[in-house]
Amino acid sequence: MTTTTRPSESADVRRSRLVADVARAGSSVAPYWPLTSFVAVNPLGGLQERPFAEATEVARSWFDGRTHLSLDDYRAEHARGAITDADLDAALGRFAPTLVAESPIEIGQARVDVVDLLRWDLLHGPSGEVIRRARQPIADALDEIVAAWCATYVDDAHVPWAMPDRDQGFYRAWRAVAGGDRRLDSLVGDRRRISDLPEDPVEMLDLAFEIRGVDDNDRVAALRTMVLRTPGWASFARWCDDWAPADHPGVRLKMLDLAAVRAAIDHLAPEHVSFDRSAERDLVAALRARTTTAAGAFALTKPSPHELAAIEAALGQLSEGDRVAIWLSAHEWSFRDRLLTRLDAPVTPPDSAARPDAQLVFCIDVRSEGFRRHLESLGDYETLGFAGFFGVPVRWRPLGSAVARARCPVLVSPRHEIAEVALDDDRGYLSTCSASAGLHDAFSAAKGGIASPFALAESAGWFAGPIAAVRTLAPGKSPTTQLGSTSRSRWRRFTSRPRTAPVVDDVAGRDLHTGLSLEERTLFAEAIVTTIGLASFAPIVVLCGHGSHTTNNPHASSLDCGACGGAPGGASARIATAILNDPDVRSGLAERGIEIPDDTWFVAAEHDTTADVVTVFDTDVLPGEAQALVGALQRDLEVAGERNAADRAKRLPGSAGRVRDRGMDWAQVRPEWGLAGNGAFIIGPRSITAQHDLAGRAFLHSYVADRDPEGVALETIMTAPLVVAQWISAQYYFSTVEPDVFGAGDKMLHNPVGGIGVVVGQSGDLAVGLPMQSVMFGEQRAHDPLRLLAVVQAPLDRVEGIVLRNSGLRQLVEGEWIHVVARPTEHDHWSFRRPGGGWEPWQPADPDHAATAALLTPLEIS
């Protein structure tokens, strides 16, 4: 053990530099949002400043996980026709244009083109996937202990008593009690040494680095290695450090504390920090295996050393990472060709003079696409796509709640709060809410204790037992529906919710400290109308958010609206509607050149994506003629829901007739497929997609380039909704290719931790990402792991300018986290943006296949 000689610097300077190093190390980790407001994130988000190819190579090393499908998986896609030979050849040509042009190799009596050799290797060569590094058992045991302490620190809901001194931070709280942790006995020797460790986490880190001889230049890497031993908890710490709202009520697990606890344990048991380095040797052996197999395939029974060397030299130009990268590219272009071939079809322009019966603005979420298609077929309806928070970034405080939660993308910090108030007498309802919340809290606390569950079973079993029986034997039936009619009537009177409204103005005297000024409301209204691209208005304009109602599902909020911060979108729709119906706001809009007819009414709704039911809100405030139109629309919404549910049933196991009840079944691990299948983000008028069944594979954002000459709306779309969609896309991608590392693993084994997340099994690291059941059905993938394709109908120079002047977007596009194709108008052909800039005309690799192959592979549901 050596000690680093440090330059003379004060303790304060050393401390400050160390704090900065922790921040630098922590920025390599993607944040993880608590399950109460699940937000899809790219698990490699901490590496997003690097190009995708480089980031995935680094991630394979850091996380010991796959970043692509395996060669066998890609070959299976090829075998079933999802990737054609032409796709593979095109991908190879793009990836290695110089290799394709290389001189043939002399093999036996034949001359073999290098490209033929490489293609054969891609299709048939043995996999050289690196074997995971094996850690010593003691290291795993220590990781388990750190993870368990993290769970204890953050959890005040499911433990018999809370960890003391939590307000002092994780390291100090752990240090105060870890001396009593008998699990450490066999791992670190005398655990009483813990009390000799520094009290301050920064001093602990400083001591650890000094004793281990970690040079200043190596500290960031060392810190990163420490925190990535429990990557799930590190991700939560990143959220606490960088994303948690200032008024977040729970304890904060800071990256500095997590690193200090890790450093303390490493300090006490330094010998466990070593890794098996056999992986490097495996790579050499793998290339040799590829070479000899290829030689055999090209009819060389006894290849000469010269021939073997030539084959090895050719194959060695493609690493294991390159091979799967080429397959990914082929897979992506296959989808791209299929989608763009459809979108390249002639477009029937809408009749701009006609006024539809209703316009319905749905969230851009891929689940809206099918519903919109069915609804459009039922009547004179125009549908549009917009981010489901409808451009109103606020905190929402429901009736009876003391807590307001953000209802907007996490990229925005809401500055306003909107409260829901009762229009009728709400005293009975509020007292019922208060009583049931108290009952729920007491029930949960008793259930989570050590001895209290026994008493709970005795005292509340008569009540909970029948409910559990109904939920088990008749999923989909609410316990209240089992009551007799008289009892049901009494129950409704007791619990019925009064009529309510969001208070969107800031009229003095209400003393709610909420609302928006008239100028703010008018600005929001203008942004909504112009970003959607609304130029004319139907008598009814429905803003339809979406949410999902499921039971016994810790990941329930992952099915809600991402644009609403992982919450249902109905509240946002109601707020936006209240603003747009405000006569003063409309006057303000008129002054800005936006005339909304007096007979146009905005109406709020919410699409339950699990039940395919649309609830329309606040219809009682509408005039009679508008109510009649809404009534007719509601009948068509019900039919559209039935048809959409029938489509969804084809991809879900179980009874097709019960598909709309799945959310009520507390044993259901797959209430719906969520956003599985997402692959593209289309920015353009509905007319270019309306005639196609896109199989729920595309986010649809309305945009009409002619109405946005300055590109303001397009810039808003590309810097916010597109970025959020990329996070979603990346989460589905990585949860699919590596469910146990970047996903949350098997949902059947989940145990909740502190309302924050889940662990797989009894204990362990926090499981981030999506459960396996959200992306897989048995061995079949319900999601094609592809990078997001942005499809934009707008002038190319406008798209290019927006990409170049927004650094975050530029990273995504130039780093090939997102692919971009565009065309100026529907009369032009598509061009794709090269990673280094510039546009190239799109041509499908296999036009016949692109025109006939399905957009989405059917699942074999037995």
Partner: protein
């Protein structure tokens, strides 16, 4: 240290960083004993990495932010060292200047 018009000299530290790096700078300020800071989001301009767009409608993270704090001179060395360390591997600029304040106890 009172030097000019009965005002106390202090160090003014201004940092312009990506929106994602604001929490790290804020933590450094507070860990170094700064009693407050000012943050300006949506900063636009032009620099080594080309144009930087200003405030975006629905993304507070994608644009640059400027954070400003004032600390006693004897605390500035550590804070400057930490920020320089942070900026070793990310975009951003740091400006340090001498300023004068009328209420030094606000910043101590």
């Amino acid at each position: 240290m009172t030097t000019w018009n009965n005002l106390t000299a202090m160090a003014k530290i201004e940092v312009v960083v990506d929106g994602d790096d604001v929490p790290a700078v804020r933590d450094l300020f507070l860990d170094a004993g700064a009693t407050g800071y000012t943050a300006v989001s949506g900063v636009s301009g032009f620099g080594h990495h080309g144009h930087h767009q200003g405030k975006l409608l629905f993304n507070d993270r994608a644009s640059l932010s400027m954070l400003i704090t004032v600390v006693p001179m004897d605390r500035s060395e550590a804070l400057i060292a930490g920020i320089r360390r942070l900026l070793d591997d990310r975009h951003g600029v740091l400006f340090v200047s001498e300023t004068h304040v009328s209420r030094p106890d606000y910043f101590a």
